[in-house]
Symmetry: C2
Subunit: 309 residues, 2 copies
């Protein structure tokens, strides 16, 4: 069973009340706390899965908080506060831990987010769990639902860069998401933490539509292309199924296609690329060399032998 | 270095802004989100540390959420929403995991708290990390600071019951905390998750006072007393240093001593017991058989050989 199916099963029958605006199943939850809409997200990274013993500690902390920040971005929200739980092995290095914390704190502060609490517990390997809260008005929130037949599909930045180290250095697309939400009519948004194929799957299932993506339009990370070609692997497939991209995918009316292709300079010099269209038929296909092929599923933590980074 | 010192070091220099009403160092953080004061807490339990492979899965889930609920209680807050991250070993049992989730969800619902998001990750052992949010008005929040010379010190319920299994069955003292906060002038409050000795230490350090506790006044859990006596261990010491009690300790003007001794029936049939006084001299002592002896430090995760439950 994939992680997504597992979580869906676990959270399917959970009790909810009417303070829950958006429950399990989107990038973040959105809840009402005393009249204010609060975004809530939790995420953990583990040594040997998301980073290694050799990863610079500052980058571990950076990644630990940047991942849930990316989820807040995907909802169009503004993150504000974080709490951090660290699982520590017996022989943990205190200086390394302090540097991890500093990395997380600096990355948080850069994005208007302050660490307000910490806990530690014993764990066989280093684990960092970050929970974030933030704010978005209920009528401005961006979700995975809402894509419509004929929408153009866009992505920010470049795809497949995680193999070149981007998974430790990415900037969550908060400013870009806010800019897009203010300027355009965004129908659905999601982050690419689990890869493009998975994101397309999530958006189309939630919106009850399909998608056709143009292979030639995908903005592949140049270093990644080179690397995969050098080992004889199709870079396109890798860019589709590889997670850890932390770019945004969104859909908007087709009329925005022309306008959004020229906005790079306005959104932090991040390219925004139209990569396909939303279709009525509920399948996700890749148009490559004139043929439509079904897109493989996204990266699945529990169905792939290799560790996820 | 103790867990408390470690966390204090890690969080000492973290950047904060003026949206942070209470930062690291109390039972919960209190922050301002778009004009609403939000309590935020994270906590994790790990197999082999806080529960065993034999612990009934429902009780694991129950404990995972009840622990941070107890922290919200200690701030006088009302919990509302939770997110849960589960670290899973390769060979995890899906049914066990579902039951853990159900245990957490039921315990949450019983206390007005809904699970709105979940994540899973690989981890060598089962780990459940729960983050909670809740609400309390900024001018009604209860903290560890504020104890004054001459205050009476009270605890709810019985002490030292964790060894008899209470650490898997406790009810967070939310209703009791609200009732107390409404009826009385509470100067400081904390939960006993790390034991009475630790709680006294935290409150007196935060409030810059000391405390003298009366050994004869401590409401020891009868089964625990019997058990420790049977193995030749002083039950009083155990009740002081053993964590996992999840009762509340609070201090209030001495005039409340008489009134609070008779309120059992009004607060869910939980006894409230005066156990000592706050002193000007900044030491924590136990009066036993007419002599004052310094109280040993509370349970420290990183300075004790035995696992914490």
């Amino acid at each position: 069973m994939s992680e997504i199916d597992l979580i869906r099963n676990l959270t399917a029958d959970l009790a909810q009340d009417n303070s829950v605006v958006i429950g399990p199943g989107d990038d973040c939850a959105l809840v009402d706390v005393n009249g204010t809409s609060v975004l809530l997200k939790t995420d953990a990274i583990v040594e040997g899965v998301h980073f290694t013993a050799d990863t610079p500690p500052k980058k571990i902390g950076r990644k630990a908080i940047a991942r849930p920040l990316s989820d807040i971005a995907a909802m169009g929200g503004r993150p504000s506060h974080a709490v951090v739980t660290v699982g520590l092995p017996e022989d943990f290095d205190e200086t390394r831990l302090e540097t991890i914390y500093r990395g997380a704190s600096e990355m948080g502060e850069k994005n208007g987010t302050y660490i307000v609490g910490g806990e530690t517990t014993r764990n066989p390997v280093l684990l960092i769990s970050v929970s974030l809260i933030g704010h978005v008005e209920t009528d401005r929130v961006l979700t995975r639902k809402g894509s419509r037949d004929g929408d153009a599909v866009f992505v920010t930045g470049e795809l497949g860069g995680s193999i070149a180290g981007k998974h430790l250095d990415f900037d969550p697309r908060l400013a870009e998401a806010h800019w897009l939400a203010e300027q355009f009519e965004i129908h659905a948004m999601i982050d690419l933490s689990d890869g493009l194929a998975d994101a397309l799957q999530q958006v189309t299932v939630a919106s009850r539509v399909g998608a056709r993506v143009d292979a030639d339009a995908l903005p592949l990370h140049p270093q990644t292309v080179q690397w995969f070609q050098s080992i004889g692997v199709d870079p396109l497939t890798e860019a589709l199924i590889r997670g850890d991209d932390y770019e945004l995918l969104f859909t908007a009316p087709p009329s925005f296609r022309g306008r959004l292709s020229h906005v790079k300079k306005q959104v932090g010099n991040i390219a925004i690329t139209p990569i396909g269209v939303i279709t009525k038929e509920q399948t996700v296909v890749l148009r490559r060399n004139g043929t439509d092929v079904p897109i493989p599923n996204g990266f699945e933590h529990f169905s792939k032998p290799q560790p996820r980074r």
